[in-house]
């Protein structure tokens, strides 16, 4: 069983970092690279296993069966990994690995690096935990591990006011959002007496009370904050630019996915399955009306993708622009999830969900690349103000090339990976409701305007600031080029990836036959 090593290895790396760092300055950096590389290998193995067998892995902590002695219900913490979780784990480990390599060059001039690498491994651990857990309180624990690590990392460069201010704001409001999620968990536990997600799904379907609805509202509200949807996106626009760029790449590429939209999808489809409740409603049994939550998600998604992308147009700070663009892209993902909820069981719904999952992976890669490019520019030139950065193309050709690929991919230009996922989202939303597709396209137009502006900055006349600029060192260039290569390769095989990976993932998340629940019921026997 390789699953526990997904948690053990980064945890071991993080705990041993203070001891390892006593041995020497260079060793801790290589140690972080080794640990995150091993995590990547484990997650690749798990993804391959789940993808090959197309079965959900259910792992019980502390025993061989989740069922308690003498009782007929699960009492232990379970980890339940379906294809969605495994795919996200692979993405997280991959981007995390590249971010660690990038940090070797990027963080060279900073102090306190053993804390930095400890925190980055803990951040990775928290996200990996979120995507593999099948226990809702365990989910909360990992969410807090991830959040606290990211609060600390946002404020890591504590000599600038930006980092401190953004970190404190993020911490206060993020803790409030977390406590809403905790309140939702407490309500569910008080009402149904269980914390295992799939058993909770059965219990809620048996007796859907007002408490369950309120808990769902708290979850969605708190997680919309964590994913940076629009009325609550301000922390993101502060925190992501203020963090060191390698951290921004992880925050924007992964944290808002794992702790935000992944959790929304898992709670909506895993605990409050729309199909189950539609089925109950067909028999006039009491049920939660999941269309309402679908429309709520779609409403916030439309708001997010319009405002996020439009705000990106007017930014003069490169990293802030990318952060707002992240907000906009989260809108697309939420739109896919919302339509997947509304059109549950139809082709449009499945397609929308596949598009959302595809876009999660694509956006993680693209936005990581863009933030790494921004970091390279900051590292070499020392400013991120777009008005002072014109004419970088001649001095930093590889960086500019990476940026062009990333920008083209995020807008959704056809031969790159962003096209396929956005196209699936447009197509499925057009199948469900053309107005939503129109809104999505308008959002893309704004995004195009924003990135064209940065592109002109890169290609424009040379300014004084960049006379001395040159390409960054290899440890920073190589992760960028790896991401470029992955983006291009994924862009060349869009429909193959969509059919082979994303659609099965969407089916498994949608669990038309209740696979997520059945994986647990096998242990109970019958029921």
């Amino acid at each position: 069983m390789t699953l526990p090593f997904l948690i053990i290895i980064p945890l071991f790396g993080a705990f041993s970092m203070p001891i390892v760092s006593l041995l020497g300055k260079k060793i801790k950096e290589y140690w972080a690279v080794i640990v995150s590389g091993a995590t990547l290998a484990v997650s690749a193995k798990i993804f391959y296993t789940v993808w090959k067998t197309n079965e959900i892995i259910l792992y019980t902590l502390g025993s061989d069966s989740p069922i308690g002695k003498g009782v007929k219900f699960p009492i232990r913490i379970v980890w339940e990994v379906d294809l969605f979780g495994a795919l996200l784990a692979l993405t997280i480990a991959f981007v995390g690995f590249l971010a660690v390599i990038y940090s070797l060059g990027y963080m060279k001039h900073d102090t306190g690096l053993e804390k930095y690498y400890t925190l980055i491994l803990i951040l990775e651990l928290g996200m990996l935990g979120i995507v593999i857990t099948g226990d809702i309180f365990n989910f909360y624990v990992f969410l807090e591990i991830m959040s606290i690590a990211s609060y600390a990392l946002v404020a890591f460069r504590n000599d600038t006011w930006e980092g401190i201010e953004a970190g404190i704001k993020y911490m206060f409001v993020g803790s409030l959002a977390s406590s809403f999620i905790l309140l939702g968990i407490a309500l569910l536990y008080g009402q149904y007496g269980t914390l295992t997600m799939s058993y909770l799904a059965i219990k809620i379907a048996e007796n859907p009370t007002l408490v369950a609805k309120i808990a769902l509202a708290f979850f969605i509200g708190g997680l919309l904050f964590k994913s940076g949807a629009v009325p609550v996106h301000m922390w993101l626009a502060d925190a992501h630019p203020a963090a060191p760029s390698s951290i921004s790449a992880m925050l924007s590429g992964l944290v808002i996915k794992a702790g935000g939209v992944y959790a929304v999808a898992r709670i909506v489809f895993g605990i409050f399955n729309p199909g189950l409740h539609a089925y109950l409603r067909a028999f006039n049994a009491p049920a939660v009306n999941m269309d309402v939550i679908g429309w709520v998600i779609v409403f916030f998604a439309c708001l997010t993708l319009l405002v996020g992308n439009a705000m990106a147009v007017v930014q003069t700070d490169m990293k802030r622009l990318f952060a707002f663009s992240s907000v906009g892209q989260i809108g697309y993902i939420l739109l896919g999830i919302g339509i997947g909820t509304l059109a549950y069981g139809t082709k449009a719904g499945e397609l929308a969900l596949a598009g959302a999952i595809y876009h999660i992976v694509n956006h993680a890669l693209i936005k990581a690349l863009l933030f790494l490019v921004a970091g390279a520019v900051i590292h070499q030139v020392g400013t991120k103000n777009l008005n002072e950065l014109s004419g970088l193309a001649k001095k930093m050709p590889l960086t500019t090339f990476s940026f062009v690929i990333g920008a083209a991919a995020i807008i959704g230009l056809p031969p790159l990976n962003g096209f396929a996922s956005k196209w699936i989202i447009y197509e499925s939303s057009a199948m469900y409701n053309p107005v939503l597709a129109a809104i999505a396209v308008v959002g893309t137009v704004f995004s195009l305007a924003a990135y064209t502006r940065v592109l002109f900055t890169f290609l424009g006349r040379e300014s004084d600031m960049i006379k001395e600029a040159k390409e960054p060192e290899k440890s920073m260039i190589i992760p960028m080029l790896i991401l470029v290569a992955v983006i291009i390769v994924m862009g060349l095989l869009p429909w193959q990836i969509s059919d082979k990976i994303m659609v099965p993932t969407a089916r498994m998340l949608e669990q038309l036959n209740g696979e997520y629940i059945m994986a647990l019921l096998k242990f109970i026997g019958g029921a």
Binding site: L11, F12, S16, M17, P18, I19, L22, L61, S63
Partner: protein, 148 residues
């Protein structure tokens, strides 16, 4: 500026610090039997450390507290926790193999040497919490902007 407190406080601190420490050690080591555990006991012991910093001042604490040692011990606490959790990995992560078949800590429930990995984990967590809290408090104490 003098950072330590007066003679009365120092004398009282000399008397109470060992007692607080002993009580914290009791809470840690009886974590599997009585209310409390590694975290609570570790925080109690850290309370003794905080009292030390307040009563005797940061200058004295700077001489006695080795930051890198504390940081290494904190990592050690975490590693012990993780290692004990991995002992039963052949069955499952966090499987309490010491309790089920193990050479130590498998006595009658309710005695001190029972409950398998729990006492070891409590000790590890206690160490981690004590060193972690002490490092945090010490860092905050050192961080004084207003002093020129």
């Amino acid at each position: 500026m003098k950072s330590d407190m007066g003679l009365i406080v120092k004398t009282m601190a000399r008397a109470t610090i060992p007692l607080i420490g002993i009580f914290g050690a009791y809470v840690v080591s009886h974590g599997h039997l009585t209310p409390g555990g590694g975290f609570q006991g570790g925080a109690t012991i850290a309370g003794a450390g905080v009292l030390f910093i307040i009563a005797f001042g940061v200058g004295e604490a700077k001489k006695r507290i080795n930051k890198s040692l504390y940081s290494a011990l904190e990592g050690l606490g975490g590693l012990v926790f993780l290692g004990v959790a991995m002992l039963g990995l052949s069955v499952a992560f966090f499987y309490n193999t010491l309790w089920h078949n193990g050479p130590i800590f498998n006595g009658k429930p309710g005695t001190l040497l029972s409950a398998g990995y729990l006492p070891i984990m409590n000790l590890a967590v206690g160490l981690k919490v004590y060193t972690g809290l002490m490092s945090a408090v010490f860092a905050i104490a050192l961080f004084r902007r207003w002093r020129k």
